[in-house]
C-alpha cells in the first residue's frame, strides 16, 4: 500500500495538475491539511476549487501529481481513500423520491456502517443537523433548499470520516440555517479535517482556521487570516466624512502621515466629502485625524472610523496579485495600485 509517514496531516496534495485538452484547470497545486483543521478554500469561478475537491474525493483522476487522504493515495486506492472522506458536492444532488431517513439509512449501509450501529448513527446525524423532527419522514423532493443542504451535510458526516469536503455548503441558506451550519462546523473542529469552499467570505472568515486562495489553477495564498492579512494587506482603511476639498484634505493627511493615501473620494449632499484613506498597518491615525480635523469647525467633521481589512480585501489582493503576475509574464500593462477613484 502506498502509505506515507506524515500521519498528522489528513490531506497531502503534491503538485497536482489537471488539464482538459490545452486548458490547465490545475497547475501544480500543493497543500497539506492537518488533522482536525478547518480550511476554507476560496477562489473566483473557474479557479479550480471544484476540480481539486473532485480529485480529492476520487471522482476524477489528476493528470499528474499526487493526493493522499489519511496516508492513502487517492489515485492508487480510490476505494480505500473514499472510506476516509465525507463529500458534499456543489449542487448537493439527492434522490427526489426517497424520505430523508430512508436515504440516510441507505447511505449508511453503503458506507459500511455496521447494522448494529446503523439506526443510532442515523438518528445522531439527523439530530446534529436538526432533521430529526418533521423533516425525517419528508420526501427529499419536497424539502426546502436549507433542509436539502442539511441532508447533504448529514450524509457527509454520517460515517464519521477523517476528512469532510463541502463544496458551497451554505449556498441558498437563510441566516438561521447559516448559523446552525457554522455551529456544526465548529463542533467538528479538532475531530475531523474539514475543507469548505464558499463564495461567502465572512462565512469562511468565521468558520475556518486557515484559508487557501486558488486562482487560475494555482494556490496564490495560504495561511491563517492574520498571516494572510500581514502578507497581502499591510494597511488599515479609514473612512472620513467632512466638508473639506480633496486638495486641502490630502495636504492635512500627508502632514500627519506621509505614507497615508486617499483611495476614494465620494461627494455627498450638503458639501460633504466622504474619503477612504489607506495608512500603514498600526499607524493608528484615528485620534490624530480627529485632533487635526476638529481644530477648525468649518471642516464640519462628522465621521472618522477605522476599518480593519477583511477576508474580502485579502481575497481581492491575492487574486489581483496573481493576475498581475500573469500579466507580467505575458508582457502586458501593469495596474497601478495608487490610482484614486473619484465618485461624484
Amino acid at each position: 500500500m502506498d502509505e506515507i509517514s506524515e500521519i498528522p496531516n489528513s490531506v497531502i496534495v503534491r503538485r497536482l495538475t489537471k488539464t482538459y485538452g490545452a486548458m490547465k484547470a490545475l497547475n501544480g497545486v500543493s497543500f497539506r491539511i492537518a488533522k482536525g483543521e478547518v480550511v476554507g478554500f476560496l477562489g473566483p469561478n473557474g479557479a479550480g476549487k471544484s476540480t481539486t475537491m473532485r480529485i480529492l474525493a476520487g471522482l476524477m483522476p489528476a493528470t499528474s501529481g499526487s493526493a493522499h487522504i489519511c496516508g492513502v493515495s487517492v489515485a492508487n486506492h480510490p476505494d480505500l481513500a473514499r472510506r476516509h472522506i465525507g463529500y458534499m458536492p456543489e449542487n448537493n444532488p439527492l434522490p427526489e423520491d426517497l424520505r430523508v431517513v430512508e436515504y440516510l439509512r441507505f447511505r449508511a449501509k453503503i458506507k459500511d456502517i455496521p447494522a448494529s450501529e446503523l439506526k443510532a448513527r442515523v438518528d445522531e446525524v439527523m439530530e446534529t443537523c436538526q432533521l430529526h423532527r418533521k423533516a425525517a419522514k419528508k420526501i427529499i423532493g419536497n424539502l426546502s433548499k436549507g433542509f436539502r443542504q442539511r441532508v447533504g451535510i448529514a450524509d457527509a458526516i454520517l460515517a464519521k470520516p477523517e476528512v469532510i469536503i463541502m463544496d458551497e455548503p451554505t449556498i441558498g441558506l437563510d441566516p438561521h440555517q447559516i448559523l446552525a451550519i457554522r455551529e456544526l462546523v465548529r463542533s467538528l473542529r479538532g475531530k475531523m479535517s474539514v475543507i469548505i469552499s464558499s463564495h461567502i467570505l465572512p462565512e469562511i472568515e468565521q468558520m475556518c482556521d486557515r484559508v487557501m486562495i486558488i486562482n487560475q489553477g494555482s494556490i496564490v495564498a495560504s495561511g491563517s487570516y492574520a498571516a494572510l492579512r500581514k502578507e497581502f494587506i499591510a494597511w488599515d482603511k479609514y473612512d472620513v466624512s467632512l466638508k473639506l476639498a480633496p486638495e486641502e484634505f490630502e495636504k492635512i493627511v500627508s502632514g500627519i502621515n506621509k505614507e497615508a493615501i486617499v483611495k476614494k473620494v465620494l461627494r455627498d449632499k450638503g458639501g460633504y466629502y466622504n474619503y477612504v484613506l489607506r495608512a500603514p498597518e498600526g499607524a493608528n491615525l484615528g485620534p490624530v485625524l480627529i485632533g487635526e480635523l476638529s481644530k477648525d469647525t468649518a471642516y464640519g467633521l462628522r465621521e472618522v472610523s477605522c476599518e480593519k481589512p477583511g477576508l474580502e480585501d485579502i481575497f481581492m489582493a491575492a487574486t489581483k496579485r496573481s493576475w498581475e503576475q500573469i500579466r507580467e509574464t505575458e508582457g502586458g500593462a501593469q495596474h497601478s495600485d495608487s490610482d484614486r477613484e473619484v465618485v461624484e
Binding site: 476520487g58 476524477m60 458536492p89 453503503i110 458506507k111 459500511d112
Partner: protein, 252 residues
C-alpha cells in the same frame, strides 16, 4: 457483497416507486392480453397446428421494444443528469456494482411482469376447464426460459443505451433502435442473398446464429439448446462490462 445487495434493494425500491415501471407493465399486459385473446379465439375458430401458447409467445418481441426502454431508460441517464450517480461514486461503491444492481433491478421487474402473463392461461383454464389440453406445460416452461434468457440481453442493451446519454428520452430512443436492430436486423441480414454470393457466408452464418426468432422457434418447440444460453449470457456480460467502463469514465 453486502454493499451490492444494498444497492440492489435500493434500485428495486427506486423502480417500484417509478411511474414508468407501471406504465410499462400496464401497456405490456394490455398488449399481451389482446394477443392471448386473439390466439385463443384463432385456435377455437380455425384449425391450426400451432398451440395458442406458441402463437402468444411468438409476439413477444413487440412489447419488448417498448417495455425494455421504459424499464431501463431512467437507470443511468436520469442519475447522471441529477448528479446522484456522482454522489453514489463518492462512496466505496464501484461502477460495476452500480451497473449490476441496475441490471438486477430492471431484470427483476422484466421477469416479474412476464410472470404475470401466466395468469392468462390459468384464468382460461379456470373458467374453461376443457381448454386445459391446449396448454402444454413443458412448452410453456421452455418458452418462458427463452423469454428470461433473451430478456437478460435486452435489459443489458437498455442499460447500455442509458449509460450513453444524460437524457432519458434519448436513452429510450437509443434502446428502442438497438433492440429493433438486434431482434429484427439479424433475421434480415441472414436473408441477404448478396452476402452469400460475394463470399461473405460467415456473415450470414453469424446472423443466423444470432437470430432471435430461430431461438424462439427452438424453445417454443419444447427444445432446450445450450447455444442460445451462451449467446445471450455472454452478450449480456460484455454489454454490462462496457457499460461499467462508460459509467466510470463519464463520471470522471
Amino acid at each position: 457483497m453486502r454493499r451490492f445487495f444494498t444497492l440492489c434493494r435500493y434500485q428495486i425500491w427506486q423502480m417500484a416507486i417509478s411511474p414508468s415501471t407501471y406504465i410499462a407493465a400496464f401497456l405490456f399486459l394490455c398488449f399481451m392480453g389482446m394477443i392471448f385473446l386473439k390466439s385463443i379465439s384463432d385456435v377455437s375458430m380455425y384449425e391450426s397446428s400451432e398451440s395458442p401458447f406458441g402463437m402468444f409467445i411468438w409476439a413477444f418481441w413487440i412489447p419488448v421494444l417498448f417495455m425494455v426502454p421504459l424499464l431501463t431508460m431512467r437507470s443511468l441517464a436520469e442519475e447522471r443528469r441529477m448528479g446522484t450517480l456522482g454522489a453514489l461514486m463518492t462512496t466505496s461503491v464501484t461502477s460495476a456494482q452500480v451497473v449490476m444492481s441496475k441490471f438486477v433491478a430492471c431484470y427483476f421487474f422484466y421477469v416479474f411482469i412476464w410472470l404475470l402473463t401466466l395468469f392468462f392461461p390459468l384464468i382460461t383454464c379456470w373458467y374453461v376447464p376443457s381448454a386445459k389440453p391446449l396448454f402444454d406445460v413443458w412448452q410453456m416452461v421452455t418458452g418462458y426460459i427463452f423469454i428470461f434468457i433473451s430478456g437478460a440481453m435486452y435489459i443489458a442493451i437498455g442499460i447500455f443505451a442509458s449509460s450513453l446519454t444524460r437524457t432519458t428520452l434519448v436513452a429510450g430512443m437509443l434502446s428502442f433502435s438497438m433492440l429493433f436492430v438486434v431482434v429484427v436486423g439479424a433475421g434480415i441480414v441472414a436473408k441477404f442473398p448478396i452476402l452469400e454470393q460475394s463470399g461473405l457466408s460467415w456473415v450470414v452464418d453469424s446472423a443466423a446464429y444470432m437470430q432471435t426468432f430461430r431461438h424462439l422457434e427452438e424453445f417454443s418447440g419444447s427444445m432446450l439448446d445450450t447455444r442460445p444460453f451462451f449467446f445471450y449470457f455472454s452478450t449480456s456480460a460484455v454489454l454490462l462490462a462496457i457499460t461499467a467502463l462508460i459509467t466510470e469514465s463519464k463520471n470522471a
